[in-house]
């Protein structure tokens, strides 16, 4: 048993609870298993989520165990009906998942790379997100989807996107962005138990990170952010992997005497307006850090909310650190330059506060 570190708070009430250090990928799989054990209506669909079948026996080989081995071993426990390998046809199986959700199941879809969202986009937008509203509240769509986002792994332009803002834009969908093992456990469980369609965007750079995870069963309320670090000089707003970037930047800022507060948004739709306003009211300065491209993005949304509701608290303009308005490059030096780095955040904070 270990306890959480004061510098890495999990959120209110989680200091000193029983738990252990775990890899993001392991708690992700354990949470899927726990939710499938908890509710027989939960089942998983996606490409290669077991991966491979024996030609003679037709038995699953679990050769891949899912993209990034996220679901390894689950097919042995739950069988091929509930760990359902799908042909490469995202629109078809996401649509089937919506139909299944409309008729009483709680499907969970692994879309592999986040970029593949667009292949299934009509089913997400026109059916998953709108069914409840356009049918006058007759039905609900308890569907969970997840996929891997983010640059930094040499996957190039079509396997590295972070355009979760496109999903957060859609009324009827919810979007969550875990940033560590603690948050992925609580957000994945909350997503699967939620009666609305929820997309969990999983940055690839998080998959092998470790962190403290409480043993107990818990969910993180959708729409709530958390403080990763308390400070008084400037608020750094992170989401998904940029919450890690913000924490690294805060450590570097501390070395030069700047006391940064770090907020991890965790949910993008709904999102925690109150925590943004509360923090800015205290620090009077804010930098929003986002790996998504900057136009019509979550960073622009948060900036607008702060400008609207915390304007009187601001000592300086709202600043943003984002990727450029470009596709993700392949070359690793270009790719690193594309992604918001701790040094970019530090530089922006120093400019903002007039520090050299």
């Amino acid at each position: 048993m270990t306890t959480s570190q004061a510098n890495n708070p999990l959120g209110p009430g989680y200091d000193g609870v029983a738990g252990s250090e775990m890899r993001f990928r392991d708690i992700f799989r354990d949470t899927l298993r726990a939710e499938m054990n908890r509710d027989d209506d939960v089942f998983l669909m996606g490409e290669d989520i077991s991966g491979g079948f024996d030609k003679d026996t037709k038995e699953p080989l679990d050769a891949w165990g899912g993209p990034f081995a996220a679901t390894k071993g689950l097919v042995q426990e739950f069988g091929v009906e509930r760990i359902r390998d799908a042909p490469i046809s995202e629109a078809g199986f996401v649509g089937a998942a919506v139909g299944s959700a409309l008729t009483g199941m709680r499907p969970v879809v692994d879309l592999m790379y986040f970029d593949f969202v667009t292949v299934a986009f009509d089913q997400l937008l026109s059916n998953a997100a709108k069914s409840r509203y356009m049918f006058g509240g007759q039905t609900k769509v308890p569907l969970t989807l997840f996929a891997r986002s983010g640059a930094g792994t040499g996957h190039a332009a079509q396997h590295s996107e972070s355009f979760y803002s496109m999903l957060a834009h859609i009324p009827g969908l919810k979007v969550v962005v875990p940033s560590d093992p603690y948050s992925v456990k609580g957000l994945l469980a909350a997503a699967i138990r939620d009666d609305d369609p929820v997309f969990l965007v999983n940055d690839k750079k998080l998959i092998n990170l470790t962190g403290f995870v409480p043993d107990e069963d818990y969910v993180i309320e959708l729409g709530k952010g958390r403080y990763m670090r308390r400070g008084t000089d400037v608020t750094l707003v992170g989401m998904s992997y940029t919450s890690v970037v913000c924490q690294k930047a805060a450590e570097q800022l501390a070395e030069i005497g700047i006391d940064a507060e770090v907020i991890d948004m965790m949910s993008l739709s709904p999102f925690d307006e109150d925590i943004l306003i509360e923090s800015v009211a205290k620090t009077n300065n804010v930098v929003i850090v986002d790996e998504d491209t900057p136009r019509a993005s979550m960073s622009s949304e948060f900036a607008a909310i702060i400008a609207d509701k915390a304007f009187d608290h601001l000592d300086a303009p709202v600043k943003r650190v984002t990727s450029p308005h470009s596709p993700v490059p392949y070359n690793s030096a270009l790719e690193q330059a594309f992604m918001p780095q701790p040094a970019d955040v530090v530089g922006t904070v120093k400019n903002l506060l007039g520090r050299e």
Binding site: F43, E81, R82, R84, A86, P87, S89, A91, G92, F93, V94, G95, A96, A97, V98, G99, S100, A101, L102, T103, G104, M105, P107, D122, Q123, S126, N127, S131, R132, Y133, M134, F135, G136, G137, Q138, T139, K140, P171, G172, K174, D194, D195, D196, E221, L222, G223, S269, P270, F271, E273
Partner: protein
């Protein structure tokens, strides 16, 4: 003929109800009583009637923008359907869906759908639910779509999924010869759309979509296969829509009068009447009493819709989510 007297009466009632609902709805729309766009399916009564004659409320259907016939065949009430087209609070969706989104989940109706082809995987998903719950014998998924949707990728993905997963699905293609104004001879690369079923490892059947008995027989076999766990079937029904693509569409701009006359001679309701009269299965008196009761039902539906209240403006914000912690209201 191996159809019970009650079923024959249901078939006649359903086809006549579809015909008169569409004609009445169109008349009301042109009068300005509807609030938006509506697509009529008169002429195409046989496909949904012949198929849904085999279904119960536990079976699911996916539908299209031209969905009134599917709704009626699945047992939806014409009062609430008309009220929905009129945008009223008493409508099937409280006035928030309109003609293109009429649905009734209590009757196994997954909703009319405004995106061509988009409802097809929903029916596959309903069939997947049945398979996962082990209730295929009493819950199949029927996907209605047209010749236009046959060119959509999602149909082909759905056919492949239903086949490899051996799901209880009926792909019910209503080929009315036109996708909006584009004729199927121009847009569809096969003589029979059903021929594509072979490539997905399922039976593909072509039937006369103006003959409800032919549809009934083909659907009966296909649904029995699905209920027995033997997988999906594709049924193409060659049919014809009497009116335009939508209420204000003038078909004379793209269809020849001879063609329209040709199909009117094949009229599904007249064909039914001739057949049952010849075989002495139903009296003209019985048929007239059915028609009369439908006429009364339509008068009632219009009156109900006209006299129903508008939805409260506050419902604008309802049912976007089951629950959501941010404001739904727009910024002002």
């Amino acid at each position: 003929m191996d159809i019970s007297k009650e079923k024959l009466e249901w078939i006649y009632t359903t086809m006549y109800r579809i015909r008169r609902f569409e004609e009445t709805m169109l008349e009301q729309t042109l009068k300005g009583n509807s609030m938006g766009v509506a697509h009529t399916s008169d002429g195409q009564e046989a496909p949904p009637t012949g198929i849904c004659a085999h279904l119960t409320d536990k079976d699911w259907i996916g539908s299209t923008h031209r969905g009134h016939g599917h709704c009626i065949s699945k047992g939806l009430e014409t009062d609430k359907m008309m009220a929905e087209v009129f945008g009223k609070a008493t409508g099937q969706c409280g006035g928030k869906g309109g003609s293109m989104h009429i649905s009734d989940f209590s009757k196994g109706m997954l909703g009319a759908n405004g995106i061509v082809g988009a409802s097809i995987p929903l029916a596959v998903g309903a069939a997947l639910t049945a398979k996962l719950k082990g209730i295929e014998h009493e819950s199949v998924g029927v996907s209605f779509f047209g010749d236009g949707a046959s060119s959509q990728g999602v149909l082909h993905e759905s056919m492949n999924l239903a086949s490899v997963w051996k799901l209880p699905v009926i792909f019910a293609c209503e080929n009315n010869g036109y996708a909006e104004a584009t004729p199927s001879w121009y847009a569809v690369s096969a003589e029979d759309i059903a021929s594509r079923a072979e490539g997905y490892g399922m039976p593909g059947i072509v039937v006369d979509g103006m003959d409800v008995f032919a549809v009934y027989d083909a659907a009966g076999e296909a649904i029995a296969r699905a209920r027995a766990g033997e997988g999906p079937t594709f049924i193409e029904m060659k049919t014809y829509r009497y009116h335009g693509h939508f209420h204000a569409d003038d078909t004379s701009k793209y269809r020849k009068p001879e063609e329209e006359e040709f199909y009117k001679k094949l009229d599904a309701i007249k064909h039914f009447e001739r057949t049952v009269s010849k075989q002495k299965l139903m009296t003209e008196k019985k048929m007239k009493s059915i028609r009369d009761s439908i006429e009364q039902e339509m008068l009632h539906a219009v009156e109900f819709a006209l006299n129903s209240p508008m939805p409260d403006i506050s419902t604008l914000y309802d049912d976007v989510y089951v629950n959501y912690s941010n404001p739904i209201a727009g910024l002002r």
